[in-house]
Symmetry: C2
Subunit: 445 residues, 2 copies
Amino acid sequence: MGTKCLIIAAGQGSRLQQRGDSKPLISILGIPLIERVIRSAMEAGVDEFYVVIGWQSGLVRDFLEQLAKRLAIRITPLVNEDWEKENGLSVLKARDVLQEPFLLLMADHLFDPELVRALTTHPLPDGEVALVVDSDIHNPLVDIDDVTRVSVKNGKICDIGKGVTDFNGFDTGIFLCSSAIFKALDQSREKDGDTTLSGAIRVLAEDGRAEAISSSSGFWIDVDDPAAFKRAEKALLDRLRDKPADGPVSRYLNRPLSVIFSRHLAKVDITPNQISLFSFLCSLLAAGLFALGGYFALLLGGVLAQFASIIDGCDGEVARLKYQSSDFGGWFDAVLDRYADAFLLFGLTWHLLAVKGNGWVLFTGFMAIIGSFMLSYTADKYDNLMRERIKAGIGTKLRMGRDVRVFLIFLGAATNMVFPVLVVIAVVMNVETLRRVMVALNGQD
Amino acid sequence: MGTKCLIIAAGQGSRLQQRGDSKPLISILGIPLIERVIRSAMEAGVDEFYVVIGWQSGLVRDFLEQLAKRLAIRITPLVNEDWEKENGLSVLKARDVLQEPFLLLMADHLFDPELVRALTTHPLPDGEVALVVDSDIHNPLVDIDDVTRVSVKNGKICDIGKGVTDFNGFDTGIFLCSSAIFKALDQSREKDGDTTLSGAIRVLAEDGRAEAISSSSGFWIDVDDPAAFKRAEKALLDRLRDKPADGPVSRYLNRPLSVIFSRHLAKVDITPNQISLFSFLCSLLAAGLFALGGYFALLLGGVLAQFASIIDGCDGEVARLKYQSSDFGGWFDAVLDRYADAFLLFGLTWHLLAVKGNGWVLFTGFMAIIGSFMLSYTADKYDNLMRERIKAGIGTKLRMGRDVRVFLIFLGAATNMVFPVLVVIAVVMNVETLRRVMVALNGQD
């Protein structure tokens, strides 16, 4: 790739003062704004950064130094003493170090890496600038009174500024610039005394040298004031709920609740693996309560099992929010889930044996355990190869995943109807496994 | 690749008459010789074949036609009416169709694809011929009185023939030829009236145009007479035992026995999946015998379980012998094995509960089942990624695979010491799973 990236992080962000001294270092869901911007750019393929700092430059510089080490990337700070003046002056600080086309981002604009990726593969004609323009003028994440508006015609920017009335898009703050941007800043200053970035774009737009890359989807948000901060937090959390692999219970019950927990968990120093372990211990405790006997312990165990299932969503969510996803984490979580499932079902079986200990109870409990296991095993074994084949046969709506399994356990415990639930799990899990074998067999060459 | 391949399959093979009318069609472990040669060449990257046929040419032609369809390759038969004469005449039949360097193989020489692969990547100078020479002059698969001997010096063949006394290698029958071979055959005929392939090689050797590609490892065998046929069968079976992933019980008990079964199974019309299913049904029956109660049923169940574990090796062996390996087959076998393990352990638990039904028995049985499952699950989940990491921590000798598990079950049943065996399985399997989690955790970046 090799695209370099300039990030403007010089401002004070006085409207967010209550959240921290330096705006780029304000944490949103556990990660500072500037780190989120850098991480997103990295996901789009950038690994060399220039950051213009100003207000509290010592603090920001120290943070960037540590971040560069932690992520093994190059970050060069450029100081702008005139950080109180307009943002074009910050861009000019990069004049001597950036010649080839470079990305230009704002430290307070969060965005989906997809939006940047569209730019890095874009061929930029010499002397031009390209801006990602949000053409969804009803975007609920945008503060219409504060956003920089853009008027686009035939892929070119005609006008740009907060006061533009005849607009059809918004400035996302994501630019691809040639060095023409520096000259345009000079011209704008000489002509109108305007040293804003928008001013320079206007100069380029007059000659048809400001391209608009329109996008109507793709998340972005300008984190400018407390209201925007809340919107951004909510948007980041909402994105966690968009997991196509989620089963019905996950989608409509567990995920909405786990996201609420994750919002708080992200802000403290807890790792995803610790969350996995905590959820597992809750399940173990629930299994113990089942085995204890009596309806009260059964009910309590059921509630605890369902709680553990909800918390079990948080490990992945926090990992995604804090860029801590790892292969080990996914594997560890899966291993603990299998143990948890087995213990829960064994607890229920034990409970039933104490009430009416006959062979059918034992056999049903055994079949429920093995069926649950097989369902995970058949999906995971030969991951890439077989999963596709098996998926082809599964309706996306009808998933008997862990979310459904634990919810059934909860229902059985709460209604004191443990045996029917064991029977249902035993039958459904094993029949589904058999069906998978059939699908895989038929898909055989 | 694009290398074409000429196979000489014209002879009668009178010394193997008792095994079939046409030598190339004689089956060895369920697959005709000519098919084995073609399959091995395919594994080395060849997909276009010319086969010189003679004796029983109608039969051979029909077989090749079906084989070409079945394997989706091109096979062109070339008829040699003078098949009773020397083998050089068969080679000459290809004069008009093969110009670029081509592989030359014998229909009755079985070989490891590696030996051919060494040739297909070999740059052959114009006007030369290369022969793979076996430099292991003590090779037990070679019949020293019948083999074509070769004298090699500095990578060139000096002399070749059955009567050569000063030799340091054997002719494997695997050649890479330029069209110079046809001219050399003419010259050999004119000069000495010799129309053998060896005669032509001698002509080329005189000018230093016969290269020797030496190999001291790599399986090959000339299946010429009943003794050689038996040696070949044994060698093919021995190769099945060379599986580095085998656990100790597999290596020293199961595999030597399953190979004996496979020898017979390969010759009948039974698929590997049918073998998997049969082994599974034996395990189910064994589990039922365990649950029945009483020492005699227990003993019988134990023996049957161990028998099933031995037979469980045959599916993969027959698949390898008959080129029937498939991803589905491996997956299906693994799924059945998990069910079989769970049922066997559940049968033992049931047996014990009838004798002395207390909670510890039930709990131990449960832990043995979940531990066995987890051991397979942790190995298979994230196959490629995690397996490497986990393997790094496992001593190659100390494997607690399925072979050991079932053998312990057999021992427990035979000695009527079921509870200790359940305890051992429960402890070892779960501790090993925990250890794997630790290894994976430490290997984390």
